[in-house]
């Protein structure tokens, strides 16, 4: 840590570390937000184009309550509860409709809520604030917190625990590819029997590459991912160690921990009998009904739980921004979440997180690199960046329609 202290006094490095922390918080918040969508759409098949409404309610409820001196944890839980109630309300009124109507109603609701917080006076302490002015100067978590050495080490240990879990999961993913290799191999065997003898030599040479390529590929991807994870981890450790120098360090730890816990619970749920019913509804709700499952209630639960998760992400978002304006909650935010879920592979929680990582990596990479290689002014450049996202999505859909971590077999199955 001696070297670290010398290093971290350099203002340029401080700037970079602060930026990485900021990026980590953003990624974690939007990963959380997208996980709500992944539960609703990826698992249950509900098309929600108004996810941002839950985030809006979560953010405003948390912020307003905390302005009255209610503890942040309680305020956040209340925000999640209000968001869940919105899910309940939307569900009650629309789930009996066909799913495309749900899409229309949800996008309408999200705009409705944004317009309400834009045009209504918000009940802030002392005097009401017009919604369009936004909310500022509300309590933020861990701002007055000045940790002693022990607290710092506990915080670092918690972060290490999460990163360790990531590495463990990655390792398992790499090792699992052995099964994939076997499938590839057996497929080849059946192919070979039809190939003429003269060409088998070429074929078998090829097959050596294809036979081991999934494993090699996974090892390479795994190592790169581990190195990439190490960057925010190192930044996090430095940030937590020099807690008072980095305003986002505390929020980074909170959002990463919340994300980790939510992912863990969602994974448990997705593999549980409860998750099985949701998947059954996604596949064919008539079957679920014929087998005695209360489809309506399960859809409501998915809407409410997904909404509550998005609500929590709203609270974190408000803390990160330190001010909230109605225009932060445009429908575009919902579609960013859709991009993240589709990028990573629908129905896959880790894929969704990966989608968020790719999204923000792209976002910040192009922010710095594009101005240097594309001669356009700022306004056109920002439009260009979004355009390229569309292009990349199209390429992905052609090359890997199941998403980065999706399973190809699932697309080829008959209904």
């Amino acid at each position: 840590m001696l070297d670290l202290n010398a290093l971290t006094n350099d203002p340029a490095i401080i700037g970079w570390i602060a930026y990485i922390l900021f990026l980590t918080v953003s990624t974690a918040i939007f990963a959380l937000f997208s996980l709500g969508l992944n539960l609703q759409w990826g698992l249950t098949g509900l098309i929600n184009f108004g996810l941002v409404a839950f985030m809006t309610l979560g953010a405003y409820t948390t912020v307003l309550l905390s302005m009255y001196g209610i503890p942040l944890v309680v305020a956040t839980l209340a925000g999640a509860l209000v968001a869940a109630l919105l899910g309940w309300l939307i569900g009650l009124s629309t789930l009996r409709l066909r799913e495309d109507y749900l899409a229309i109603v949800t996008i309408g609701v999200s705009e409705l809520i944004r317009l309400i917080v834009n045009n209504q006076d918000l009940p802030t302490p002392n005097t009401p604030t017009p919604g369009a002015f936004g909310l500022q100067g509300y309590p933020l978590p861990l701002t007055d917190f000045n940790p002693n050495a022990l607290m710092k080490w506990i915080a670092i240990a918690l972060l290490t625990l999460v990163v360790g879990a990531c590495y463990w999961k990655l390792g398992k993913w790499v090792v699992k590819s052995r099964r994939g290799r076997f499938v590839e191999y057996s497929r080849e065997k059946t192919n070979n029997s039809e190939v003429k003898p003269a060409r088998t030599k070429v074929k078998s040479q090829k097959s050596f590459v294809t036979r081991y390529s999934p494993l090699v590929l996974r090892i390479i991807v795994g190592i790169i991912a581990m190195l990439l994870i190490f960057i925010p981890y190192a930044a996090g450790v430095i940030g937590l160690y020099n807690f008072t120098d980095y305003e986002k360090a505390g929020l980074m730890l909170i959002s990463v921990l919340v994300l980790a816990v939510v992912v863990w619970r969602l994974e448990v749920l997705a593999r549980s009998p409860w998750g099985r019913v949701l998947k059954a509804i996604r596949e064919d709700e008539e079957v679920a009904r014929a087998l005695g499952k209360n489809v309506f209630w399960y859809k409501l639960q998915a809407l409410m739980l997904g909404g509550a998760i998005a609500g929590v992400s709203g609270a974190l978002y408000a803390w990160q921004q330190t001010s909230v304006y109605p225009n932060d909650f445009q429908p575009q935010t919902t579609f960013d979440a859709w991009i993240m879920v589709i990028l990573g592979g629908a129905g896959n929680n880790f894929g969704t997180i990966l989608g968020a990582v790719v999204f923000f990596a792209y976002d910040s990479a192009t922010r710095f690199i594009l101005p240097k290689i594309v001669p356009l002014d700022d306004v056109r450049l920002s439009a260009f960046r979004i355009m390229v996202i569309g292009l990349l999505l199209m390429v992905l859909m052609i090359w890997r329609p199941q998403g980065i971590l999706g399973k190809k077999e699932e697309l080829t199955l008959g209904k």
Partner: protein, 261 residues
Amino acid sequence: MEPKDLNSQPIPLLSASGLTKTFGGIKAVDNADLEVAQGSITGLIGPNGAGKTTLFNLLSNFIRPDRGWVIFDGAPVQHLLPYQIALQGMVRTFQVARTLSRLTVLENMMLGAQKQDGENFWRLQFQPWAIAKEQQILREQAMTLLESVGLVHMAHEYAGALSGGQRKLLEMARALMTQPKLILLDEPAAGVNPKLIEHICDRVMTWNREGMTFLIIEHNMDVIMSLCDRVWVMAEGRNLVHGTPEEVQHHPQVLEAYLGK
């Protein structure tokens, strides 16, 4: 049906009376009656468009009847929602087998089990061990059933990878997994090769001997004749006749309905 009819026989497991459903100007089912005795295999036949599948939908309340009542296991059920009827023990299959493609065959089976603690969100949070145990028991039950229909080697494959005949078998086994009192089979032998039809019939008979009651829609007369205790015939939404397979087979009205005058 006359009241004295009911008195002379034990109370049927399922009885429907006066069921009517109109789609626009078409009477899909018109004043239809049906009875299924406890422990029987009852057949429901009729030419295409006779309203058999609609009658199935009315019985299980997937479509609400305009008129008529259904009594199942001694209690009226037509006010219940489809899933509640399934919970009462009347489980249906579909004419075109519906499997949940992106779930494995085993998951399809385990979904069938009723009243699982693991399907409750809060129990899942607070009693993970009890649920793991419950699931283990269900897994064994499911594997036993899969073995009996000959799908055990496919247990961990996606259900979407099954052939048409295998899907029919899976659907039947899944219905059985709910431990029902009555299974409604909609054309279990449609589009299935003769060898597999034999297998399906064999399974139905075995389960029937173990006490399961079936109501079967089927076009394949061999299947109906070999399986059924009683056969109900429908044509143009109405009851035509009912009786033993032999009686029905040679009934002039039935021949007329199938072959024309």
